[in-house]
């Protein structure tokens, strides 16, 4: 019986564009190389060395430093500064973002605030510390202006009541540190929370009003629960940013405020303390705290994206 076989299936030749699109992942190579060399490798090295003594032998004794009252205090101060600045920066940043997105702010003002936030969120470290010293330090120009505002009291004597340093303010203290950190914390909050605020649909507000809810009830029952994971996630990001900061605090306070980052630097640099292996153990402690922060951030983000995927 005659049987005509169908022609063999020849795979269609792929166009150059199809072949290029299959290799698009190559674009990620520099990123993964960067992550490997500047995050994974140093972190693994840190972890390994935190379990070594000066002779390279395995030891757990480096972690005994965690019981040292100075170390506990340094962690506690770092945590306190991070919590305060993340909450202050978070609240302030939220209201700025609210004004940008929902406050009928003119477009030029929105653009200005967003550009400023992008710049300020990355303006930390020594330049920030010096700009604060130059403005609000003991001889800063804002301090000088405030100092110069004097007038005679009823007895005829000159009084200069606006000198901030006579009123308990000190830039080189925890207050100053919080102020300096807030400078880069609140713009970071603006950048992180703006997309979430933009994601609030106008129809949700209108639907709640239509069902009898006041604006306050809308925020309590609808907007804030929807935004809560984003707000908490962004605040955790601020916490992480403050917790890992070193240069701003060191340049501003010269090490007089005992932050964990400053303590680690002292241990590794060896000019004040000299046990880099204990420094590595302290750094691992920081990594654990940061890891928990990132994990919490991811969990909260996933919850929001689940709600909003409809």
């Amino acid at each position: 019986m005659d049987q005509t076989l169908p022609p063999p299936v020849v795979p269609a030749k792929k166009s150059i564009w199809e072949r290029l699109s299959e290799t698009n992942w190559i674009g990620l190579v520099p990123f993964f190389a960067f992550i490997f060399f500047f995050l994974l490798l140093p972190s693994s090295n840190l972890l390994l060395k935190s379990f070594q003594d000066f002779n390279g032998n395995f030891t757990l004794s480096n972690y005994a430093v965690m019981q040292n009252p100075y170390v506990i205090k340094a962690y506690s101060v770092s945590l306190r500064v991070s919590v305060i600045t993340s909450v202050v920066g978070g609240v302030f940043g939220f209201f700025v973002a609210y004004a940008i997105v929902l406050g009928n702010t003119p477009k030029w003002m929105r653009n200005f605030l967003m550009t400023f936030s992008g710049l300020a969120a990355n303006f930390g470290g020594v330049p920030l510390a010096f700009s604060y010293i130059a403005t609000l330090g003991r001889t800063g120009f804002v301090t000088a202006i405030l100092k110069s505002i004097c007038y005679p009291d009823p007895t005829g004597a000159q009084v200069c009541p606006f000198n901030p340093y006579d009123n308990g303010f000190n830039l080189y203290s925890m207050t100053g540190l919080v102020l300096a950190y807030t400078y880069f914390q609140f713009p970071l909050m603006v950048l992180t929370i703006t997309p979430a605020l933009e994601g609030l649909k106008k129809e949700w507000r209108e639907a709640s009003a239509n069902l009898g809810a006041s604006p306050w009830q809308y925020w309590r029952d609808v907007a804030l629960p929807i935004l809560a994971p984003s707000i908490l996630g962004a605040t955790l990001l601020l916490f992480g940013s403050a917790f890992g900061a070193y240069a701003t605090a060191y340049a501003l306070t010269g090490g007089s405020i005992y932050l964990i980052t400053i303590l680690i630097a002292q241990q590794i640099r060896g000019d004040v303390l000299n046990n880099p292996y204990e420094g590595y153990a302290l750094a691992v402690g920081m990594i654990v705290i940061m890891g928990i922060t990132i994990l919490a951030y991811n969990v909260l983000q996933r919850r929001t994206s689940r709600w909003l995927k409809s």
Binding site: K201, W204, L211, Q217, D221, I226, W307
Partner: protein, 348 residues
């Protein structure tokens, strides 16, 4: 006085006029559709009833109570949005019960009402689900139940079916009509879909450029369009430029061929147009009817209907015939005769 009254409503956004001289009386339990193209002012009018926009002038009353300047949360008017607008952080039951919770009803009362509403929309087992776990059609049914749960005076629907696919749209519009009739609730429905408006409404308000073009029952709107806009917007229509022949006798000329219609007047040299729906035209010659002769220009299959375009001395007439397998189709270019009843055409 009617249940819902919109009197001399005018709305402008800066120099742009969105709604002009809008007057409408709606009886209790009536289903009214605002029909028109995008930007004709139908949604703006609906939003003024809901309180999301304030009229520039005019006033709105429900049950004789003036609510023109009342904030939206004090109006007791239910609204269904095109994008559903369900609260994503609440379950279906919480969404439906939200209006009752805000009104301070107790938990058992809310639970009972939510159950009733879920049964009404046939989603009894979906109370604990979140909106993202529902299809578009289910979400819109929940939105409808939410808007009805707190027993509003008027139900407003802003293009509620636009985001759904064709099959679900047809199912859901029947559902909406069933629920509306079951509850007897006064309803205003905004749509740009003439089929939706015609199939759902007791009366239709056709709007264009912020103005009311015509208000009437679906039959009046379709069969007796008052303006050229209504005639063109609702259904298909042949609008053919004609020459006056004997106005008193209702005669006009299509090219050299005479057509009889109702008597007409010539106003300010306004060009005359003969209006006739494609389904009123029939193939062949019929004594006592208007008969025209032309050439077949094109034939288009539209599923159950076949549209034949006939060129009558340079004027294209479309006629619709039911698609039957035995249908003897003409050939493009051949001579073709069409007829239509005298009372099926009119002059615009």
């Amino acid at each position: 006085m009617s249940y819902l009254e919109l009197t001399n409503i005018h709305k402008a956004f800066g120099t742009s006029v969105a709604v002009e001289n809008f007057n409408l009386s709606v009886e209790q339990g009536e289903f009214i559709s605002f029909l028109g193209p995008s930007g004709c002012g139908k949604t703006t009018t609906l939003r003024m009833i809901a309180g999301f926009e304030i009229p520039t002038s005019g006033y709105i009353t429900i049950n004789s109570n003036d609510l023109t300047y009342l904030p939206p949360n004090k109006r007791n008017v239910g609204m269904v949005f095109q994008s559903y607008a369900l609260f994503p952080n609440m379950t279906v039951a919480e969404n439906i019960g939200y209006g009752l919770k805000i009104a301070g009803k107790n938990k058992s009362e809310i639970a009972t009402r939510v159950e009733e509403m879920l049964a009404l929309i046939h989603l009894e087992d979906y109370g604990k689900r979140y909106p993202f776990q529902l299809s578009g059609g289910q979400q819109q049914r929940v939105a409808l139940a939410r808007a009805l749960a707190f027993q509003p005076q008027v139900l407003l629907l802003d293009e509620p079916l636009s985001a759904l696919d064709a099959k679900i749209r047809v199912e859901l519009r029947m559902e909406i009509r069933r629920i509306q009739q079951t509850l007897g609730i006064t309803t205003i429905y905004v749509t740009h879909d003439q089929e939706e408006a015609l199939s759902l409404s007791d009366r239709i308000v056709v709007m264009s450029q912020g103005k009311m073009e015509q208000v009437g029952t679906p039959s009046e709107i379709y069969n007796f369009p008052a303006t050229e806009f209504v005639a063109k917007f609702v259904g298909q229509i042949n609008l053919i430029p004609v020459d006056a022949h004997e106005p008193e006798e209702g005669l006009v000329k299509v090219g050299s061929q005479v057509v009889r219609t109702a008597k007409y007047e010539i106003l300010d040299n306004k060009p005359l147009r003969l209006a006739v729906r494609p389904e009123e035209l029939n193939p062949g010659h019929l004594d006592g009817a208007n008969n025209l002769s032309g050439k077949v220009d094109s034939i288009t299959y539209l599923g159950s209907i076949v549209r034949i375009r006939v060129d009558v001395e340079g004027h294209p007439f479309s006629l619709d015939v039911f698609n039957e397998r035995k249908l003897n189709m003409p050939v493009v270019g051949e001579q073709f005769q069409v007829n239509f009843p005298v009372d099926a055409c009119w002059i615009l």
